[in-house]
Subunit: 422 residues, 2 copies
């Protein structure tokens, strides 16, 4: 079954909002073995929308559209959906009632503009919207499915989970594409590629792809098969062949896996609690760790010590140390990590201090210079990194490096001559 | 000039990585008046890639491709680029030298796989890659531009800024599309729509679009004109007409504007420093504030008080208060904000405590219940919000509501009967 995702909206084409919907939908479909073979973003323009509908209807078994379902004049999706399939628009009291009900539940007075939501293409099925007033549209013709959903993520996601996904799975036919992801830490893409040089054994079972990122390289195995059972059997064989070559570098597996989750599992297993002390990352490390539900079981507290006073008062870093070595130094990174241990109930602590940029760099300490500290009851150590010139990337890479540093402390792996480029 | 962006990569179609490149490229082009009329994502498959090249070459003046330039077997872009334009591949010693130079600079030993980067389509121009080994490809034919860049954001961005964007601006021709964004706070889309009911005066100058988000509705004005001067003149007129109707709700303008930036400017103007105390958002508020370069001038420190001990020890919240009212309560939110003032050098403090979910909810205090506190030297107050069931959304909405709360304190605006649905 081949699926396609279309986002409608000038705001995406202008880069004003990221099209996170497409990735989210793709992940849901991939988990069910439904392959997305095309994603596109098109403007709020009649001709472009109709052309994309036409192309999608010809080439895809299922077309999922997001955006352009609101009540304002720049929302064209519903009208063009109706026109493309030649469906007359009718006023549906049942939809109006649902919209009124939503207003009642939120104790708000009804706005007349919202009446427009009850105009609906005859012959199509409305999809309930528990989080907003615009219903989705489900329509089948010639064995193909056409679905339109709002662009607001929380509204689209509820419709996908409650309505669209179960129905697509029912109608799933043809080959099943399944994949599996293995997350490596501490080995670069080119070296990984060399270690897997004799790949026939893996490739006879599965396609193989590398996805390098700041925290390591993810390896994706993909299989297309007649059934989910056969696909899983072949994935098992490919994974086994892969693990026989690079197992020490594999830190986790699965689509939902993140380095932070893996860290949380390690901490739980070791019955350790973590505290973090951040300067240049300003809360990003704590945020990433607490993205995980249940992180309160292993994350104790975080210090965002942006000012020198905060470093001194919250972590006990001596002003004299900051003056002598600078706030961005190995000494201060270690003192921050030690201070986080002393001023918390955590058994292990990470610290980050650096120059994220774009300002604040000097010839001796350029933008991108970052020191990481790690402390536990036994001692403290640090790492020095020199990243690039972009603030956002420097913050992301600092957090990734701190997580890898913690993993190395908690779960030593065999030494590898690292630092290769791809 | 019409531009199109193509991302190549199964990992994007599987939702394994977000295609943030497209949005970033679009923003750079939009600033220069170059309109992106299509974005797409296609698989690592020969047929799909060639078909997309063909369609793009026919309909777009400039085509920007990302992804598939690496040295491994699933990277097809370079070979298919050459085949599509019928350019022979030649080995270029100058590219090999640049790759070797990168290895030398990073003090790493050369990997043979990287030699492949020096194979390059004859007649095309290599684009230097300061952050990696794969060069980009620039090619012009029949007045149209075709560009391929790596999918790694930092590599692509450097190529865009240093090489691609200046050359595209030189070749810019035809109509110029410019837009302007105004950010509103404290008014919902449907009500805004009603306030702008008599829109002719705005629409005669410009197209108008609404982009609702958690922090408010952004309004986008778009103009297509013969020159940048004319476009800007018409944008000025449309903005004036718009402001005459809804000025009190406009908090900022421009593509680079964010609520956090606006907050930072207000704090700087009032010479105030901010501290934050976060429980359920776990550092997200601090992270968002410190995303901004220069935030150290107005952000003093942050407390990620995930555990009750942390709330007590870092902020002085009495255990007795937590026991009586619960950690998620108006009383604790206010005590956290007051504690952040007492335990910092800030003059104003925000606090967030809530149940982000998916676990931890009870019938009395369901998932999505969030209390916000705000304190300054004069006093303290709180807000209660009941959001939905999704952890990520609850955290985002909590931060957005806290920022709006701070703005209301710093810059009072006329009261509006709020809380309308769209």
């Amino acid at each position: 079954m081949k699926a396609e995702i279309i986002a409608i909206g000038d705001e995406v084409l202008l880069g004003q909002i990221e099209n996170t919907n497409a990735g989210w939908i793709a992940r849901q479909l991939a988990r069910e073995g439904i392959a997305v073979h095309h994603m596109s973003v098109i403007p709020d323009e009649e001709e472009a929308i109709l052309e994309s509908f036409n192309r999608a209807f010809r080439r895809s078994d299922a077309t999922l559209i997001t955006g352009g379902l609101g009540p304002t004049h720049d929302d064209l999706t519903k009208a063009l959906f109706a026109r493309f399939f030649d469906l007359p628009i009718v006023f549906r009291n049942d939809i109006l009632e649902e919209v009124r009900e939503l207003y009642r539940k939120r104790q708000l007075s009804f706005i007349e503009t919202s009446r427009e939501q009850a105009n609906f293409p005859s012959g199509a099925t409305p999809i309930r919207n528990p989080h907003g007033t615009a219903p989705g549209i489900w329509y089948e013709r010639e064995g193909r499915v056409f679905v339109a959903m709002p662009g607001v993520p929380v509204e689209m996601r509820a419709m996908m989970v409650d309505f669209v996904l179960p129905r697509l799975v029912q109608r799933r036919h043809g080959k099943v594409t399944l994949f599996r992801t293995l997350h490596t830490v501490g080995i670069k893409e080119a070296l990984l590629f060399e270690k897997l040089d004799n790949r026939e054994e893996i490739l006879q079972h599965s396609r193989l792809a590398f996805l390098p990122g700041y925290t390591g390289v993810r390896i994706r195995l993909t299989v297309e098969a007649e059934s989910a059972e056969e696909a899983n059997m072949r994935l098992d064989k490919a994974e086994k062949a892969l693990r026989s070559r690079i197992n020490p570098y594999i830190f986790g597996s699965g689509e939902e896996f993140t380095l932070e989750k893996g860290v949380g599992e390690l901490l739980l297993r070791e019955r350790l609690k973590l505290a973090v002390a951040e300067s240049c990352t300003g809360g990003l490390l704590a945020k990433r760790l607490t993205d995980n539900p249940g992180s309160s079981r292993w994350f104790e507290r975080g210090f965002v010590t942006y000012s020198n006073e905060a470093k001194h008062e919250l972590l006990g870093v001596p002003f004299e140390l900051i003056e002598r070595h600078g706030a961005v130094s190995a000494e201060v990174a270690e003192a921050m990590a030690e201070g986080a241990i002393r001023n918390s109930h955590a058994q292990v602590a990470l610290s980050i201090t650096g120059i994220a940029g774009p300002e604040g760099g000097t010839p001796e300490k350029p933008v991108g210079l970052v020191y990481l500290g790690i402390a536990d009851r036994e001692g403290v150590s640090h790492q020095r990194h020199q990243f690039g010139g972009d603030r956002r990337t420097n913050r992301l890479r600092s957090v990734a490096a701190a997580l890898v540093m913690l993993i190395d402390r908690l779960r030593p792996r065999p030494h590898v001559s690292d630092g290769q480029l791809v």
